[in-house]
């Protein structure tokens, strides 16, 4: 079969694994999006008839877990399974093993979701709830099923990585002196970062929270478990972002009619992420007591240097788009922008996601600014930030690239393409409204994660918003939230229409071929491909950044100062 025939014909069983993962991802996306819309109406006071304020937090947990953990992890597993198979151009080592890790991830997801939704279903047993949000800070306790589910999801993702490394070692045996293909390199480096990062949350959940929630151990140290979580908490955002970079570097150039300007630069930025993404966790704990200022300053500096690969990516990706535009006849300093295929949903969605990431980048720099954090910590500025980054740069890229990928893994033409064309633009508009208002109300001090933030029963003091009154910002959030949900509905209709349509409607209209970069892998130094070296350096950096603080926290007793489990309800 020629390289031109669709992926599903060349690798039918791998395509099935990709379809399964994407299917679970899209279901989680729809439910999570629905909950998001209900929350945006509830907390803004626009319509509080759907849920009780005390149930809001179970729904917020579901929104966070389903979108930030389930949708992302399953989509990434599907995308990377396609990427590895395509770039090594060989079947996965064992279909049984691939189904196993998908099964483990799915089992974990089902268990966690049962625990969370237990809190929303009235007739469920009342200890079956997990209103702990997706950060599940001790001493707030969730039902053990929640922690067991989370652990299984992570173990499943570890097995997926083993599947791909297994593929890599078998490929290496027959291609001893070749450079690792770019897409495979990106998958392997992302997963090395993931193995290092998940050590934190795996320790927290398996060693502390599961026994603690089962009553086997009486108490856990909240600061220690919180630090273990955020050891994982920042690299997880790069676990979401690097697959988007995978799309921006290796597929977007082709969609814009051009070629990636530099393969080695892409590898450099992925290596920098592997090195710097984990020893920065304390920038989520700038305002925590019990952590010395020195550790926070180190985390801040590392975080600032973590901007470098992203800033390089911005240049390389936009340059590749410019190259494509000029190859399509684009002229002028910026006139080439018009020559890009804005009427193609795959291209338009990914490009808009990249544009919005630029805005999210700035609000991330503010979050990273150690003492500047007093201004925005735990205010609505923070959700304003991450709805631009994971909520758009990653999520919109994943949705948009599905318009290009799903036909190749189903062998079916994209259905309802008209809706697909509108969907990314509607997302971009809705997200701007919601996120802009969230940033503004964050600056006024409105707290995040609250069912009714207007809060002034006791103090009688109103928020001092800067642009527009408090009511106006909350209304703008609700409008943005509803537009986003409509956009998710459009996406879901296109996807399920394509999954369910008959296969014999003629050949798919997308080509899976990816042109060679302008400056190929061979131009870059061989050391770039030395995964063992980069992983070792990454481990050393993490040991330096986290060794002393962990020692401090453990030296006064692993379980001291300890707190017993506390429920979320009174």
């Amino acid at each position: 079969m020629s390289a031109e025939s669709p992926f599903v014909e060349r690798f039918p069983s791998e395509a099935r694994i990709v379809r399964l993962n994407l299917g679970v991802a899209f279901i989680a996306l729809f439910i999570g999006g629905l909950f998001g819309a209900i929350q945006s109406l509830h907390r803004t006071g626009v319509y509080r008839g759907l849920i009780q304020s005390s149930d809001y937090y179970s729904m917020l947990t579901a929104h966070g877990v389903l979108l930030a953990l389930v949708f992302t992890t399953f989509f990434i597993a599907g995308l990377f399974h396609w990427g590895i198979t395509r770039s090594f151009d060989r079947n996965a080592p064992s279909q049984w093993f691939s189904m196993t890790w998908f099964g483990v991830m799915l089992l974990g997801t089902v268990l966690a979701t049962i625990a969370i939704l237990g809190g929303l279903i009235p007739f469920a047993p009342d200890d079956l709830n997990a209103a702990v949000l997706y950060t599940f800070y001790a001493p707030m306790k969730a039902h053990p099923l929640f922690y067991i589910g989370a652990a299984l999801l992570i173990v499943g993702s570890w097995l997926a990585g083993a599947d791909w490394f297994w593929s890599y070692f078998r490929w290496r045996k027959t291609n001893s002196d070749e450079r690792i293909p770019l897409q495979a390199f990106m998958v392997l480096v992302t997963w090395l970062m993931w193995y290092l990062a998940t050590l934190g949350v795996a320790t927290e959940v398996v060693v502390f929270l599961i026994p603690w929630s089962l009553g086997i151990i009486p108490a856990v140290d909240p600061l220690l478990t919180r630090t273990l979580f955020w050891f994982f908490g920042h690299p997880v955002v790069y676990f979401w972002l690097l697959p988007a970079y995978f799309v921006w570097y290796t597929i977007l150039p082709k969609l814009s009619g051009g070629r990636l300007v530099s393969d080695p630069l892409a590898r450099v930025s992925f290596v920098l992420f592997l090195l710097l993404s984990t020893p920065v966790g304390f920038h989520h704990q700038y305002l925590d007591p019990g952590i010395a200022e020195g550790f926070k300053f180190i985390a801040m500096s590392n975080t600032m240097f973590l901007l470098l690969p992203s800033l390089l990516t911005a240049f390389t990706v936009v340059a590749s788009m410019e190259h494509g535009a000029r190859q399509r006849g684009g002229k002028g300093l910026l006139g080439w922008l018009r020559a890009l295929p804005w009427d193609e949903p795959a291209f338009a969605g990914v490009a808009l996601a990249g544009l919005m990431f630029a805005a999210g980048g700035f609000s991330g720099m503010v979050n990273a600014g150690m003492n500047l954090n007093y201004l925005v910590h735990n205010t609505q500025w923070v959700p304003g930030h991450f709805h631009l980054t994971v909520g758009t740069a990653a999520a919109l890229t994943f949705m948009a690239i599905s318009y290009w990928l799903v036909p190749q893994v189903t062998g079916k033409r994209l259905q309802l393409k008209g809706l697909a064309i509108v969907q990314p633009y509607l997302w971009f508009l809705g997200m701007t409204l919601m996120s802009n208002a969230m940033h503004r109300s964050g600056l006024a001090g409105v707290p995040r994660r609250t069912a009714e933030p207007e809060w002034n029963a006791v103090s009688g003091i109103a928020y001092e918003t800067i642009v527009g009154s408090f009511q106006e910002t909350q209304l703008q959030i609700a409008v943005g939230g509803v537009l986003l949900f409509v956009s998710v509905v459009l996406f879901s209709m296109v996807m399920f229409g394509t999954f369910l349509v008959r296969a014999d409607l003629g050949p798919i209209r997308v080509s899976g071929s990816l042109p060679r970069p302008l400056s190929t892998a061979e131009d870059g130094p061989l050391v770039l491909d030395n995964l063992r070296l980069w992983f070792t350096i990454a481990v050393v950096l993490v040991a330096i950044a986290y060794g002393p603080p962990f020692f401090d926290m453990i030296s006064d007793g692993v379980f001291w100062p300890g707190t017993p489990p506390t429920t979320s309800g009174l």
Partner: protein, 166 residues
Amino acid sequence: MEIHRYEKIWFVIALLMIVGFIATIAYGAVGAGVEMIADDGGTMDPNDVSGTEFEDPGVRQVGEDHYEVYVLSQQFLFRPGTTEPIRVPAGSTVTFYITSTDVMHGFALAGTNLNVMVIPGQVAKVTVEFEDPGEYGIVCNEYCGNGHHSMEGKVVVVPESQYEGP
């Protein structure tokens, strides 16, 4: 590895910008004197506050115009703060000692730079200067349970002439 001249320039500018950001933050700490919350508040047993200052939380005068406020945070109220406002005189320096006996909380005076996490077992020590009379709303900005959205309080900065002592 041919990298285009413009991209090399951008690499250098990006590095300078990053160093500039770090320098700004260092200036904030050293020049503008913004202190970070650190571990000087110490630790305590969250399940037993007897024998600590938190047994009787409240305002204490410790100097000419220096006051200390011991605030106990628990599921869904600050003591003092919610039940009765924290009263301090204008023109005073106030050090807050804040801890929790149940779950994580947040202690933030909305619209100001006083914003700190409250972690069971840790004591958050924060010092600020209240120049002019006024009122501030205390907001719990870290999720702490299904009554989290009702957890709020008030700080009243009383004009010097009106202050009757803690």
